[in-house]
Amino acid sequence: MKNVQSLGALMEERGVSRRAFLKYASYVASLMALPPAAAAAMAEGLAKARRQSVIWLSFQECTGCTESITRAHSPTLENLIFDFISLDYQEVLMAACGEAADAARHAAMADNKGKYIVVVEGSVPTKDGGIYSAIGGVSNLQMLQETVENAFAVVAVGSCASFGGIPKANPNPTGAVAISDLIGGKPLINISGCPPIPEAIVGSLSYILSFGKLPELDHLGRPKAFFGETIHDRCYRRPFYERGLFADSFDDDGARQGWCLYKVGCKGPVTYNACATLKWNGGVSFPIQSGHGCLGCSEPNFWDGGGFYRPLPTPLGATGTVLAGAAVAGAALGLGASHLARKHQKNYLAAPKSEED
């Protein structure tokens, strides 16, 4: 058993002091907006924790989520996570392949029964027995169920795993579903986004490591620390929204002035994520800062929201034809009603049906 030592002891062997834990904890606490005092407890928890076995499953996905977490921008800090966890199975990163890789997964599951964390990237096809995505002849569905069975917790990374994402978008040919639909009552964290913000993955995993429990989640299973506020609420262009200053196209004066992108389809008001505060690429920018509206990628069904450039207040669906039909129906009913009224007037005059009061 290789995971018996505490992380503290493990790091000490490498000549890294407890100060590293404190610094890391201070960083994560700041990310997750925990009170600074929580950093000490977190550091303490981390130092005492065993090295966490993590099994990373990749299903119907694009590997963007893996790309996101491996491109950390505070490498000295964020990369510590790879010291704190034992990434026992990760198809993109692991050296082993084929049966050896699969053996590693099974070994990790056996060694850490009930303790390992399953990270899932991608959604799972369920149509036709789940044949649309398989690894070594094992369907994603089978692999998920088998791996999750004795896991401590599941972390769905990215919108595909969290909500079904693009594979689940209309017409969803593979019958893709979110991980939450397949794992019964297993503790689950959804870290949505396409891709998710790396700090959100790191922060959430660290929290579990330190405190041995899941962070506080919203109603969609997302950590409130990262998904507690909308893009719109924290957007630096918000004052323009309030003043009614909008870009009407991507190439007009409003766009050049950096005005609010609401009219060109920004989904910021209904999208919960930390892009506006943590930003991307080490705080360089985020979509709105780069001149494009938020796509709402961390929300369920974002791909079917009626179009990225369709302003939020516009109705979804083909209203034009429906309303034309309604107009014809209304006119017909109106003419019918007046015809009926005249007929009724005549009949009623001929012989009023004595009605009850």
Partner: protein, 144 residues
Amino acid sequence: MTSSCANSLAPELPAHKKTGMAEPVLREIHARLESFAATGQTGAIDLAGMPLTRADREALEAFLGRGEVSATLDVAGRSEIWETAYSGVWWVRHWGGDAVASELIEITAIPEILKTDRTDAAGAVKRLALTLQQRDRGSNGDGA
């Protein structure tokens, strides 16, 4: 389209502009320092949690000034820690690579991270003993 994609076209709340948010931070520091002086209750303020611009931080830093103690840590990247001109008010800046990863103001006798953990000390005891043993064995050998 390509030309209008440049970042420079999208202005941000100018980093050089003061928002006045440094003021409430100073009030909080004062309140916490008062309570530390009176009861020994320590506290910390995470500057990342405040909507401060770069100018705000610079103003805050300049206002608090530098005191007698400063330290540089080389752990998981670099960290800078100094006591400000106000005793008991410490500025803690952690770097993660080239960027500031977190920045705190601690109101305490000495920031926790500067103290040596006894577990580390225990490890050091072993390492020191081992080193001494190796040295003594070596010098003995030399002497033999």
